[in-house]
């Protein structure tokens, strides 16, 4: 069964198939993602893992890396751990 981390990786890979992004790498620091991609990430995480990201969690640091997103998901959906 795919893990939370793999699911997040797969989503990013589908959007950027020609780039290898490490789990700890700052996606927004790569220079080619924008607010539209941030919105897509939020929609993906909410839809795929079935939770609503609250205003307090809507900050860039929660979406910068695969690891940060995995932590966000697990905090909100303990079953995804």
């Amino acid at each position: 069964m795919p893990t939370t981390t793999e699911d997040i990786r797969d989503f990013i890979h589908a959007k950027f198939p020609h780039v290898t992004i490490a789990d700890e790498e700052d996606i927004f620091g790569l220079g080619f993602v924008n607010s539209l991609f941030a919105m897509e990430l939020v929609m993906f995480l909410e839809g795929h893992f079935g939770f609503r990201i609250g205003n307090e969690d809507l900050e860039l640091s929660n979406f910068r890396t695969v690891v940060a997103m995995e932590r966000l998901v697990v905090r909100n959906v303990p079953a995804a751990a």
């Binding site: 020609h18 080619f32 539209l36 919105m39 990430l41 929609m43 909410e46």
Partner: protein
């Protein structure tokens, strides 16, 4: 009958039919007068309220009609077919309602949604500034921290519905980043000035909104503190983009209806204009553009209904196609009308002027070209940092 079938490309839901009938009876007939007077008629505003259009995208439990995005798109297409100015007011109002529904606290939802749903209070989206249009990140409006709240200073221009709105959704830069604020239009420090002499959507009650040291409480902050660009702004503009795309499809259909009718009536070289092959080419393009535009809007709306991230690019693509199609169709409609189309009140002159605006608002055509090509580049030919 034949032209009506063409003008209504796909099978019609009960909701769309209901809206269409009301638009034909109450919106379209007064649209040229609204355009001439540069103000939306009280009757059109009342009809929108009576029909539940202001709250179409809001949930039933707050007084909305709880329509899905496919239905909202159909509504904005039909209204846009009758009157782009009314559709523009619906667009920004729907954006504000959606923003509060999505990012509002329980208290904010309680305070605002019921009155927005009925249209008792209208909303306006205040993002654009003299030096910040498509590049929202460049905004210079300021939100200083004061005791128990913020002091806002901003100059916002081209604010659709700015004259009629009771609630302004204002974006400004605070120490933590770009933030969204809910500001009652009657607040001390807010001045609204009508913008006259517009090319298109002339009845959309446009204003320049100047906010001079306006103090609002902490509870005016909507959504995440400092991260509004990637949330409230982007998410709300997506709604606006779907609305403008849908309204643009409506313009194409209005052009088709007008132009095909005129071409069938107008004598030309022993027959009528519609016998001319070059005229038929124009009508054919309108038919195909209307059908393609609606399908693109429906796809974007369906993806939005299921929370699929693909809705983002699908909406950009729909708006890009529909706005350009509207401009093409309106140009051709005026061409078919000839001199008669160059007169205020001909309706096609209004479609022509309104369609140009569609290529500028909610992201210019050129911004769409860059964004859609970038997305294709990422997925297909490698990623250039």
């Amino acid at each position: 009958m034949h032209s009506q079938t063409l003008a209504a490309p796909n099978p019609c839901s009960e909701w769309r039919h209901q809206v269409r009938v009301v638009v034909d009876e109450h919106v379209a007939p007064g649209a040229d007068a609204c355009d001439r007077d540069a103000r939306i008629s009280p009757h059109a505003l009342d009809v929108a309220a009576r029909e539940g259009w202001w709250g179409a995208a809001l949930p039933v439990d707050v007084g909305g009609t709880g329509r899905d995005w496919v239905d909202v798109s159909a509504l904005h297409e039909e209204v846009g077919r009758g009157c782009s100015s009314l559709r523009s007011l619906l667009t920004v109002h729907t954006m504000v309602g959606h923003a509060i529904d999505r990012w509002g606290t329980d208290a904010q939802r309680e305070q605002w949604l019921a009155q927005l749903a009925t249209g008792a209070t209208l909303g306006a989206f205040c993002l654009t500034e003299p030096e910040a249009g498509s590049d929202a990140a460049a905004l210079s409006a300021r939100a200083e921290r004061v005791r128990h709240g913020y002091r806002l200073s901003a100059t916002k221009c081209w604010i659709t519905g700015g004259l009629t709105a009771g609630l302004l959704l204002i974006f400004a830069r605070s120490p933590s980043g770009i933030c969204a604020f809910l500001v009652p239009a009657e607040s001390v420090g807010v001045t609204r000035t009508p913008v006259a002499g517009l090319l298109g959507t002339r009845a959309s009650m446009l204003a320049e909104v100047v906010v001079d040291a306006c103090e609002v409480p902490d509870t005016a902050l909507l959504g995440p503190d400092g991260f509004a660009l990637a949330t409230v702004i982007t998410g709300t503009l997506e709604v606006g983009r779907l609305s403008v795309a849908s309204g643009s499809v409506g313009i194409v259909r209005a052009c088709l209806q007008a132009a095909s009718g005129h071409a069938a009536r107008r004598s030309c070289a022993g027959g009528t204009l519609k016998d001319q092959q070059l005229v038929r080419r124009m009508l054919t393009d309108m038919v195909v553009d209307a059908r393609a535009g609606r399908l693109l809007c429906e796809r974007a709306a369906r993806l939005k209904d299921t929370g699929d991230p693909e809705t983002v690019m699908a909406t950009w693509i729909a708006k890009y196609h529909a706005a350009r199609a509207a401009a093409r169709a309106a140009g051709d409609a005026v061409q078919i009308y000839g001199a008669r189309g160059c007169v205020t009140g001909a309706s096609v002159d209004r479609y022509y002027r309104d369609a140009k605006v569609m290529e500028i608002i909610e992201g210019s055509t050129e911004l769409h070209q860059v964004t859609i090509a970038d997305d294709a580049d990422r997925q297909m030919s490698g990623c250039a940092p």
